[in-house]
Amino acid sequence: MMDLLTYLCLIFVALGTVPTLVSFAQFVMVGLHGIWNHYSKCADYTPRVAFVLPAWNEAEVLGRSIDSLMQIDYPAGAWRIYVVDDASTDHTPEVMREKMVQYPGSVFHLRREKGGQGKAHTLNHGITAILDENWAEAVMIMDADVLFEPLTLRRMTRHLADPEIGGVTAYVKEGSTPDHLLSRFIAFEYITAQAAARRAQNVMGAMVCMAGGAQLHSRENLLAIGGAIDTSTLAEDTYTTFKTQLAGRRVVIDANAIVWAEEPDSIAALWKQRLRWGRGNLQITAAFRHLWFTSGRLTTLGGLPFGLLWFSAALTPLFMILGAVGLVGLYFLWAPWAKEAFDVFWLATFVVYFAETLFCFAIDPVASRKCWLEGLIFPGLVSVALMVVAISGVKITGSTDRLSLATWSWGDTAAVLILAWTGLAAPAAWLVYRIDRAGAPKWLRNALLLVVGYGPLLCAIAFAAIIAQLRKADLKWDKTIKSGKARIQT
C-alpha cells in the first residue's frame, strides 16, 4: 500500500511539471519560425481595410487612436475607420463629430441607441454595416485604445495575399506611460504569450487566439464564419479564431507588426479582465468539446500538441496543486525521495525559466530594457529562491526517512511549506489581490507581488475562473477601463 502511494505521489510530481514541459516544447518551436514562417507566401497586397472600433465611453482614448490610425503608411483612401458607439454616455459623440470633420470620408460614427450587451454585440453592429457595403476587402477588429505603428497594417495585409489565410493578428505591446510595476510585468508576459508563443503556434499550424486588439480578417473569411462574431462566450476573439480555422482557413501572427495598448493598472482590474478571459476560454473548451485530441481533418487544431498546449494553460493551477500534493505526500511516505523529487522538479523549472527568460530578452530587446527585472522575478522571489535551493543542493528534509508526529519539528513544518509552495503560491497571490482590493498602499501591494510573483497571480486567476465556471457564477461582460495612457514607444 505504501509503495502504491509513493508511486502515486511520484506521478503527481510528474504531472506538476506538465505546464513547464509544454511551455519548453513551445519555446523550442519559436526559433523554428526562422525557417517555417509564412513570409514566403506574402506579397505586396494592400486591400481596402475597414477598421472597427467598439467604443463605450471611450472619449479619453478615441481621439488618439483615430489620429494614430490616420497616420499609418498605407495607400491613400484604402482604409476607413468605423467607430461603433455602444450608447456611450460620455463625450464620445462629440469626439466623433470632431474627427469626422477632421477626416471626412475616412471616419464614420455608427451609434447604437441601446447598448451594454458587450463587445461582441457592438462589433457585430459595425461588421454588419461594413459587410452590407461592398467597399471593404478586409476588416480589422480592434479595441478603441489600441495604437497602430505606421507599418503595422502593411505587415498584416501582406499575409492575406495568400487566400489560405483567413485572419492575421499582431503583437500587442503594453504601452502605458508612465510605466509601473504591473505594466512591466504585463509587458514581459506579452513577450512570452504573444511574440514568443504565437510564433510557435505559427510553426504548429494552429493558433489559439487572435488578439482582440488587432484581428485582421479577409472579407471572405468573415462571410465564411457567418458574417458575425459569436456572442455566446466571454472570449469572442478566441471563438472567432477557432471558427476561422474550422472553416478551413489558416490564422497567423505577424509578430513584427506591432500595436500598443493600455493594460490594467491595478491587480483588482487585472483580476477582473483575466477572469473574463479565463472563463471565456473554459466556455470555449466546452463549446468545442468534440475537437479535443481528435485525429484526421482537425489534427492540427484539436490534435495532441494543440490539446496539451490548451489544457496545460487552462488547467495550470490543478497541475501545480498536484505537484505540491505529490511532493508533500512523498515527504510523509519517504522523505529522501521528497528531496530528490523536489530537486528534479525545481531544476527542470529553472532550466525552462532561465532559457525562456533569456530568449524573451532577445525576442524583444526594446521592451526588455524596461522590464528585464520583472522578467527575472516573473515567478516570484520565493520561487526563484527555491530554484536556488534546488541547484545548491541544500538539504531541506528532516533527518528521519519516515516521519511520525512524535518526532515532528519546526524544521518539518518549514520543509512542508517549501515542498508545497507550487500549490500555495496561487492562494498567496489571491491574498495579494484581496489586499490590493482592500485599498492597501501601492508599495505594499508591489512588495507582496514581487515576493509571490506575477506567474502565480495568473495561476490564481485561472483557478478562480475554474471555480466560477463550476459554480455557474453570473456571466457578465466587464469592460476594462482605459484612461488614455498608452503611447507608441520606440
Binding site: 526559433g31 519560425h33 533569456l358 532577445a362 543542493g393
Partner: protein, 58 residues
C-alpha cells in the same frame, strides 16, 4: 517627351519605390526571424553547457 510620358514615368517610379520599400520590409522581417533562430541556438547551447557542468561538478 510628352506630358503623358512624364506621368507614365512618374507612376513607374512610384511603383518601383513602393516595390522596393516592400522588399526592404520583407527582408528586414525575415532577418529578424533568422536572428531569433540564432539566438535560440546560442541560448540552448549555453543552457546545455550549464546543465552538463552542473551534473559533472555535482
Amino acid at each position: 517627351m510628352g506630358q503623358d510620358d512624364q506621368i507614365g514615368q512618374s507612376q513607374d517610379s512610384d511603383l518601383t519605390s513602393a516595390a522596393s520599400a516592400f522588399a526592404r520590409l520583407m527582408a528586414e522581417d525575415k532577418r529578424q526571424e533568422i536572428r531569433l533562430l540564432w539566438w535560440q541556438i546560442g541560448i540552448s547551447a549555453v543552457v546545455i553547457a550549464l546543465v552538463a557542468a552542473y551534473f559533472i561538478l555535482r
